[in-house]
């Protein structure tokens, strides 16, 4: 038997020091590989006249301890997160619903394809598996309404179109998200930072239950990942404007004048294109133009006011641009046809959604990718107005895994995923922080400036519970006017008459009042006592 080796004291101390050094090196390496996210400590000093000791808890997660000795100086310490915080900085347990499986319904839009690709990361973070059901838009429309109405809770996370959000909220087809936002176990408010979203995006999901008013009150849905649209903005061909020495039009009158010149000097190209068909979101175009002319579709009490001179003038301009300077058969152009027409190099001006900037400047998809410029909507006599559009996300009230659904919504709409979605070119983020990032500004170029400028005067679509009906009535008549079946004025008057009937049928003029006032964050016009349908 061999004797055990003796370790002398010196060697023992050296070994100990060695181990400590190794641990220190390891820790340093770990820190170097996982740099702590920049946190900042802000110390503020205020003067308080009292002399007692005060401890307050601020609604945001940070705790402010205010020690007031006999002197009057208060020291406040607040932790500030970076603009795009990582998931590990959220003070919630991401694994609280591990092992569940949730389902998500939406369209085949690029933003959803991107979320689908990234869902493995979510699964890794939370242990929740997500099943995606991505459908063609028309199929999605029909299916979501049928499922919501049946109350089957087939999908845990539902996504809602801008014009349908009021219907879903009012009918209680969504589980209100404010419940989750206010629950500290499910949402770290400071990390999630809901105030980072554009106010217009949040308005679509806001509803005041006490007055049945939309656009204000508690948050019932969350703006969907990468689903921000300014509709319309103006795209133009830089090469043609340069060739014909035409200044970029700033008003609709200037736009018409420019179209006139193009038609005379370059008859082989169509001066202007936008949506003109029935449905397909066509109403966005005349609606924004009516705003630019100082009008609106409804007054404050939900009475249609398309028969007012400013609305008629705006629709006349829209119809003239499409009829006299648009493509043949302009009355059948939906967003796809109009976009394809412009991207094939057949039109000079294109008035449509900011969502298409990525596609139009992609050389694999657009023949004129390097010849496209973008600017704000032209102004009318009363300035500029454009529509702020965003989809909503919420858990289904009848779904089994609503908490897990919320965690997915929070993850998908976090600053990080919003940023990554936009950086990948898969959608436009509804968060301000994303737009401030250098990578995004470089990738999305002038569109960022247009977005920032448009946001100042953007209005949300009328949060009317019969959005589909209103849209169909208005676009049917504007489409007929573009087709030459009636004048723009007649289209306005007939739309107004039919809208009044539809709104009456839906109970908008019932007493006692069934719905709150019309609020869209823009130019709401007071109800006039001499109003006529």
């Amino acid at each position: 038997m061999s004797e055990p080796k003796k370790v002398d004291r010196r060697k023992f101390i050296y070994a100990g020091l060695g181990a400590v050094a190794l641990i220190a090196i390891g820790a340093a390496a770990y820190v170097a590989m996982n740099p702590p996210v920049v946190t900042q400590t802000v110390t503020t000093s205020t003067t308080v006249p009292t002399t007692s000791v005060v401890t307050t808890t601020v609604p945001t997660t940070s705790v402010v301890t205010t020690t007031v000795p006999t002197t009057s100086v208060v020291t406040t310490t607040t932790e500030i997160l970076p603009p795009i915080p990582d998931f590990n900085l959220a003070k919630i347990d991401w694994k609280q619903c591990a092992g569940t499986e949730i389902s998500y319904i939406s369209t085949t839009a690029a933003r959803n394809q991107y979320l689908s690709k990234r869902s493995k990361d979510f699964e890794e973070l939370t242990g929740i598996k997500v099943k995606f059901d991505l459908l063609a838009e028309r199929e999605f429309d029909d299916k979501t309404f049928v499922i919501a109405q049946s109350g089957s809770g087939t999908y845990d996370v539902i996504t809602i179109k801008p014009a349908n959000q009021s219907t879903f909220i009012m009918r209680k087809w969504v589980d209100p998200t404010y419940k989750y936002l206010e629950d500290s176990k499910l949402c770290d408010q400071k990390w999630y930072n809901i105030s980072d979203f554009f106010p217009g995006a949040l308005m679509y999901g806001q509803f005041d239950e006490s007055t049945n008013t939309f656009g204000t009150g508690k948050q019932h849905t969350i703006p969907m990942t990468g689903a921000l649209e300014m509709l319309p903005i103006l795209y133009y061909r830089t090469d043609i404007l340069k060739e014909l020495d035409i200044k970029l039009p700033q008003t609709f009158d200037e736009l018409e004048q420019a179209c006139k010149i193009i038609k005379q000097k370059k008859p082989d190209i169509v001066p202007f294109v936008t949506r003109g068909c029935r449905m397909a979101g066509t109403w966005n175009i005349p609606l924004a133009m009516i705003g630019c002319y100082g009008g609106n579709i409804f007054d404050e009490e939900w009475y249609p006011i398309l028969n007012r001179p400013e609305a008629i003038e705006a629709v006349e301009k829209y119809v003239t641009l499409m009829k006299d300077y648009g493509p043949p058969g302009a009355a059948t152009y939906d967003n796809t046809k109009a976009r394809q027409f412009f991207m094939s190099g057949n039109a000079v001006f294109y008035l449509d959604s900011s969502l298409y900037w990525g596609t139009m400047t992609d050389p694999t998809q657009s023949k004129v990718a390097d010849k496209i410029g973008v600017t704000e909507i032209p102004a009318g006599p009363k300035g500029r107005k454009t529509n702020f559009l965003t989809w909503g996300m919420a858990p289904d009230p009848n779904a089994k895994n609503r908490k897990a659904a919320w965690l997915f919504i929070m993850w998908a709409t976090s600053a990080k995923i919003e940023y990554e979605t936009m950086a990948a070119g898969s959608g436009v983020s509804c968060r301000r922080s994303t737009h401030k990032e250098k990578v995004i500004q470089e990738k999305w170029g002038p569109l960022i400036d247009v977005h920032v400028a448009s946001e100042k005067y953007a209005q949300i679509l009328p949060p009317v519970i019969i959005g589909g009906t209103v849209q169909d009535i208005f676009s049917t008549y504007t489409s007929s006017a573009i087709d030459g079946q009636m004048s723009a004025k007649e289209a306005c008057l007939r739309s107004n008459e039919e809208l009044y009937k539809a709104m009456k049928e839906a109970g908008y003029y019932d007493e006692p009042k069934k719905y709150g006032k019309y609020y869209n964050g823009g130019n709401v016009i007071p109800h006039s006592s001499d109003w006529k349908p």
Partner: protein, 291 residues
């Protein structure tokens, strides 16, 4: 208890039950449910309120009558023109080439328009054939120095253009059925007529067509009921527009139910359309029986 005898006697029930249940839940029950909903004011999300025949009154005489009668007019025009053209071209072509329709290649070619999905058909016609700027049709017209047209892109030409698609798609069906009928004709009367010195036209009008009358009526019934239900091609090409130029009853019912979310009126339109199809079918079957 003689189970064997009982089973022998009533076993047909078990054989019929699966298909009967399927038929009941997929066809009979929705018809009655549709009628039941049509008696209610029912906007999706609200609770249905019983209003009797108010929806029917609104549609026939009230607030919706203008749009409804316009859709009825469009539906009738579309059905009559489509069916007449399909039968005339189908029968004419079958008479010309019926001996060749037994060829597998010809049959495959004739089946092609029918097997292409209607939505694909709509996109092909809408984008590649009818498009005023890039469409093949205007290009062909320009070769002959003719003016370009707007086809499905204008209210005046949309309906005839949609009819042309329906004729193109379903005329081969008429050709195939009629050719089979011609093949099955007894040869003796035709041979006797030839011996008697009858001309080809006389043989056609006095022998062949009278013998094929019931087949023609059957094809007519099939085409009328099918055309009344035309929906997919219109949705894929014009969406019922421009304006309301191609809004047949089916499109109106769909828009009312799924766009306006007014299920009460949507179901009323569905019920009306059901009765129109039913009455036209009964009439046709009666005529066939009489013949």
């Amino acid at each position: 208890m003689n189970w064997k005898r009982f089973l022998n006697r009533y076993s047909f029930i078990f054989y019929l039950l699966p298909s009967s249940l399927l038929l009941f839940f997929m066809l009979i029950y929705p018809i009655f449910w549709n009628f039941y909903i049509s008696l209610h004011k029912y906007i999706v999300g609200d609770n249905p309120t019983f209003i009797g025949l108010t929806n029917y009154y609104d549609i026939f005489l009230g607030t919706l009558s203008k749009n409804f009668w316009y859709s009825v007019y469009i539906t009738i025009i579309l059905t009559i023109l489509t069916v007449i053209l399909q039968l005339a071209i189908g029968i004419g072509t079958a008479l010309l080439i019926h001996d060749k329709t037994q060829s597998k290649i010809i049959r495959s070619v004739l089946l092609l328009p029918m097997i292409v999905a209607p939505v694909v058909n709509g996109v092909i016609w809408g984008y590649f054939i009818y498009h005023p700027s890039f469409g093949v049709l205007n290009y062909v017209l320009s070769l002959f120095g003719l003016e370009p047209h707007l086809w499905t892109y204008s209210a005046q030409e949309a309906l005839p253009s949609v009819i042309a698609i329906l004729v193109w798609q379903w005329t081969p069906f008429v050709i195939l059925l009629f050719s089979s009928g011609l093949e099955a004709l007894p040869k003796a009367p035709v041979e006797a007529a030839i011996v008697d010195g009858a001309s080809s036209w006389q043989i056609l009008f006095y022998i062949k067509l009278p013998l094929l009358k019931s087949l023609i009526l059957s094809i007519l019934v099939l085409r009328i009921t099918d055309t009344l239900r035309a929906f997919d091609i219109i949705m894929a090409t014009t969406l019922g527009g421009p304006g309301r130029a191609t809004e047949i009853l089916n499109i109106m019912a769909y828009k009312t139910a799924f766009v306006h979310l007014n299920m009460g009126v949507g179901c009323t339109l569905g019920t009306i359309l059901f009765f129109i199809s039913l009455i036209s079918t009964i009439l046709m079957l009666y005529v066939i029986k009489v013949e």
